[in-house]
Symmetry: C2
Subunit: 254 residues, 2 copies
């Protein structure tokens, strides 16, 4: 059994701890969080600490903290012969350079406190600075997910950038649509089937094949109508830039 | 039974015809298409015409053609005492002004030729220029969908604009992500669970609650890294504009 301590109990730390608790290959020994928290009932038998001096010995320490604190925080961990891992998509493995055995365990998914996640379908991208630890981490990742890939820091950064487009930016468009319909006393629920189908389509079509709409068709009238509706509001420029990018991608002119 | 002719057999015409063929309230009498087509096997008993002189009498003519040809095309339909309907989100009802009984039947979904659609979950937005036809159209819509709403032309245009954001623009971000990962020999499949979860989240969280990422956190380092990765490529400006819009929405500064 691989013994593990999870450090940081934000959204990633929480969902990862819940998944590790279910793993046949791992034993979750401790959760560390700086501020006071309550562990969910599935984890109420796990030791919870808020002082790094109380850190238990474990095969792997997983730091599930924001990118900008990983390096400083990892420097505070007492040096021992154990693997220290972070979970960030954008921080390089060398953010853990204070530790001779270091690695990354990046679950490529969006986590929210109140939403359950099926970790088995979450791609986990791993990287380690030696072959033995890569094998160890691969075993651990495979015990909670069906989709484990070895990806180095440079490629992982690109993947994280792509994830910003498909998650953060896409979700912001949902928000803009929500505003647009609410301003007109329409129900955002009307758009939900379209949002789901847009995402589901990529299971059978490439995004380029799935692209439709006025910009894809080069439909100048509809585009002008939409720009008029957006008048001088905050989203007109985004509409213009996205439209220009789609026109450019598909070789259309207005 | 409400007798219907569908004019135009593109993606909307095709999927709508398939749904109407299953309806207990409607009988699909004819399909018109200007160019030669083959009807799918479920419709092989339906009369297919390519000449408007052969148009059968029917209670409703549904024009499922691109926005920019609706008005001209509808002018060519012989005037009879029947309801003439278009399926566009952005064209006003008065695109059919040559007909005394006119209406709109807008299925708010994205349709692709090769992808089956469950019409029961597709919101249908209807509008008619008299109360009797509104009732008739409502009955028809309810026979194929569980989500029927009466929405006027002005509100429908806004809804269609919102749909462009959540479908066309979102799908373009999928395409950009696809390009970014392929450039780095990574597999777009890695992003699919994230894409699906991003869409599914809005069933339990508002888009504003679901928003995460470097711009939401005001994480300057990660944003700068991403801009560096995009260097002078075609997507840097989109990244900047989206980031600025998210920062603005959530009152963050870099």
């Amino acid at each position: 059994m691989i013994s593990i301590v999870v450090l940081g109990f934000g959204n990633v730390g929480k969902h990862l701890s819940l998944a590790l608790e279910q793993s046949d290959a791992a034993i979750l020994k401790q959760v560390y969080n700086r501020s006071e928290i309550t562990l969910p009932s599935q984890l109420d038998h796990i030791e919870l600490i808020d002082d790094l001096n109380d850190l238990a010995e474990a095969d792997i320490c997983i730091i599930a903290l924001p990118d900008d604190v990983i390096q400083d925080f990892s420097g505070k961990l007492p040096e021992q012969d154990r693997l220290v891992v972070h979970t960030s998509g954008s921080a390089p493995i060398d953010a853990l350079k204070d530790h001779s055995r270091r690695a990354v365990f990046y679950p490529l998914q969006t986590f929210s406190a109140e939403r359950e996640v099926n970790f088995r379908s979450v791609p986990i991208c791993i990287e380690a600075n030696n072959a033995q630890d890569e094998t160890l981490l691969f075993m651990l990742a495979e015990s909670i997910s069906e989709k484990v890939t070895v990806i180095n820091s440079a490629a992982r950064r690109k993947l994280h950038l792509a994830a910003v487009f498909v998650n953060n930016f896409t979700n912001h468009f949902y928000h803009i649509a929500d505003e647009l319909v609410r301003e007109n006393d329409l129900d955002f629920d009307l758009l939900k089937p379209l949002i789901l189908e847009t995402a589901n389509k990529i299971n059978t079509l490439s995004p380029a094949e799935a692209q439709t709409g006025p910009a894809r068709r080069g439909d100048k009238n509809t585009i002008e109508n939409h720009l008029h509706l957006l008048s001088e509001g905050p989203y007109r420029e985004l509409y213009e830039k996205l439209t220009a990018s789609i026109l450019e991608t598909y070789g259309k002119k207005l």
